[in-house]
């Protein structure tokens, strides 16, 4: 099933990537080619096979719930596009 214009518009919003009218057709074409490749998976017999999440079946380690390092807020905010009084600035959300 090929991706249509409406699908691209929906994906564009879900992925928060603006797709302009002039690149929409090329974007759809590229995605459809890749989906054609991916569709080869359908032929694989995977009945009863457990999905593999970690190649060595490792699980998450646990650690003590204790402070291990502190964050230097000034250093982290020095690379932000816009900050004020220790806060990140974005356009007004509530009118």
């Amino acid at each position: 099933m090929a991706i249509q214009r409406a699908d691209i518009e929906k994906l564009s919003f879900l992925a928060r990537i603006d797709i302009t009218e002039d690149t929409l057709a090329a974007t759809a074409d590229g995605i459809n080619r890749v989906l054609g490749l991916i569709d080869q998976l359908r032929a694989a017999d995977t009945a009863g096979i457990a999905p593999l999440a970690h190649p060595l079946d490792a699980t998450q380690r646990l650690r003590e719930d204790a402070v291990s390092e502190t964050v230097d807020r000034e250093a982290l905010q020095a690379i932000a596009p816009a900050v004020e009084a220790g806060l990140y600035l974005v356009p007004k959300v509530i009118e």
């Binding site: 994906l11 990537i17 974007t27 995605i31 490749l37 694989a44 999905p51 250093a75 690379i79």
Partner: protein, 485 residues
């Protein structure tokens, strides 16, 4: 001096035949002179390198020098470096200066290396040709009209052109091995979890692994020794002892069982590449290895499974680039949604956008089972193929890539044509196995690589076989004609 291997440089530095400052200045001058041609570096750090070299010289003089003290290398621009831009080949991070060092950077610094700068790469490591870099493609030193491979094309080209004796790189679907093959250098993707991913910008977290590139297996062993080991800051890093990789290099190969998978020698393999790989197999056989025909029956599903899993994980990982906390922000956003959508549209190139959209699609409501879950099941089948094979053999050998380096633009129209260049490398990532590529011949004057896939944590045995091969052959010593001249 630039023609010395990394091991030879270590030796020369330790014996005070030359200083790290002399060596660093010499290589920095070569980098500056050639970067307009090869474009191997995104950022050169002359001042930082010379400071590190002076410190290394002081330690060498004081006699308390660590193993790699004073040796210049380069880092792929995917590893965060405190105070030095880390762009990941993207406009999104063109202005990003990390406030910390990646574990790999930290460990190599502790081993004494001098970092000359950050190497060029496909944007967010998504590509097999370096053509997706925001900073323009790297040129293959063996043929300037051809790609160096990707995504670690800058690291491979810098090593091939004798700008550095070794470099760091990362491999999600072949990004160390494919450029190593196309540029005629040796590169190793370790077992998943062998090297810390902390501070390495994430692409597909269940596949990404850092590793070294250099000219010889011995040099790769030296770099891996410094890079490998447990790191509690990476939740998927495994707590296993790190063997002495160099100690095993010279072991004889008598009785080594090498699996030759029929699926890696089928249609689509360049006849010249096949001949070179078969000659490499014969050389190992002459040294006492036994060749065993094996099957990896689900090989043809590796590329399709990868193009679900990698984009799905990428779509989640790259959601952090929102134009709020760091990275590119569009001008005059009219509201928050506009800020997100335009910052990401402007910051990401076409291939990165495509993969995020595909990943978003595969993970969206109603499609998860058909795509992501199915791909993870296929991944289990692919791993089982390898487990079955390693019950019979010690190593698996085949070509790294189907073809030598292709011309710029050759795969331009169709993303799938580009993806299929990684047909032999992707399975090792899906299974989490270590794999290396080393040069084994020239086809039309361009290098081709042989791939060695090992069992989990069996890097020492892989490096042993590679080293023995390199002791009997000189492919790894060949330099691109312009560099040798």
């Amino acid at each position: 001096m630039h023609d010395l291997t990394l091991a030879e440089m270590c030796h020369g530095l330790a014996r005070r035949e030359f200083s790290s400052s002399e060596l660093t200045r010499h290589l920095l001058a070569r980098c500056a002179a050639t970067n307009p041609v090869y474009n191997a570096f995104i950022t050169l750090d002359d001042a930082g390198a010379l400071t590190q070299a002076a410190a290394a010289d002081a330690r060498l003089a004081a006699g308390d020098a660590p193993l790699l003290c004073g040796v210049p290398i380069a880092h792929k621009d995917i590893f965060c470096t405190r105070g030095l831009r880390t762009s990941c080949g993207s406009r999104m991070l063109d202005n990003f200066v990390a406030p910390y060092d990646a574990t790999v950077v930290e460990r190599l610094a502790a081993a004494g290396v001098v970092s000359l700068g950050k190497t060029n790469m496909d944007e967010f490591a998504m590509g097999s040709s370096n053509e997706t870099s925001y900073y323009g493609p790297v040129k293959n030193p063996w043929a300037l009209d051809c790609v160096p491979g990707g995504s670690s094309g800058g690291s491979a080209a810098a090593v091939a052109a004798r700008l550095v004796p070794g470099a760091t790189a990362t491999d999600t679907g072949g990004s160390i091995r494919q450029p190593a093959a196309l540029c005629g250098v040796t590169g190793l993707k370790p077992t998943y979890g062998r090297v810390s991913r902390w501070g390495m910008i994430a692409f597909a977290s269940s596949l990404d692994q850092a590793g070294p590139m250099a000219r010889s297996a011995e040099d790769v062993a030296l770099l891996l020794q410094a890079m490998a080991g447990f790191d509690e800051r990476d939740s998927t890093c495994l707590d296993r002892p790190v063997p002495d990789y160099r100690a095993a290099l010279d072991q004889p190969l008598d009785g080594l069982r090498i699996g030759v998978p029929a699926e890696y020698f089928g249609a689509g393999l360049n006849p010249g590449t096949e001949q070179a790989v078969r000659e490499a197999l014969s050389e190992l056989e002459r040294q006492g290895a036994r060749l065993v025909d094996i099957r990896l029956p689900h090989s043809d599903l590796a590329v399709p499974a990868y193009y679900v899993i990698a984009p799905a994980e990428a779509s989640a990982n790259l959601s952090r680039f929102d134009g709020v906390r760091y990275g590119h922000r569009c001008d005059n956003p009219k509201d928050l949604r506009d800020l997100f959508m335009r910052s990401r549209a402007e910051g990401f190139g076409a291939e990165v956008q495509r993969r995020i959209l595909i990943g978003t699609y595969c993970l969206s409501a109603g499609y998860y089972d058909a795509y992501y879950n199915k791909a993870q099941q296929v991944r289990a089948l692919i791993r089982q193929d390898f487990l079955d094979a390693f019950a019979q053999v010690d190593l698996i050998l085949g070509p790294t890539c189907p073809n030598p380096a292709f011309a710029f633009g050759a795969k331009g129209g169709d993303p799938v044509a580009m993806y299929l260049e990684d047909i032999y490398t992707i399975a090792a990532n899906l299974a989490g196995l270590p794999a290396l590529s080393m040069p084994c011949g020239l086809v039309d004057g361009k290098p081709v690589g042989v791939q060695i896939i090992g069992n989990y944590f069996d890097e020492a045995r892989m490096l042993n076989a590679a080293h023995r091969f390199q002791q009997a052959t000189d492919w790894h010593r060949r330099a691109p004609p312009e560099v040798a001249a």
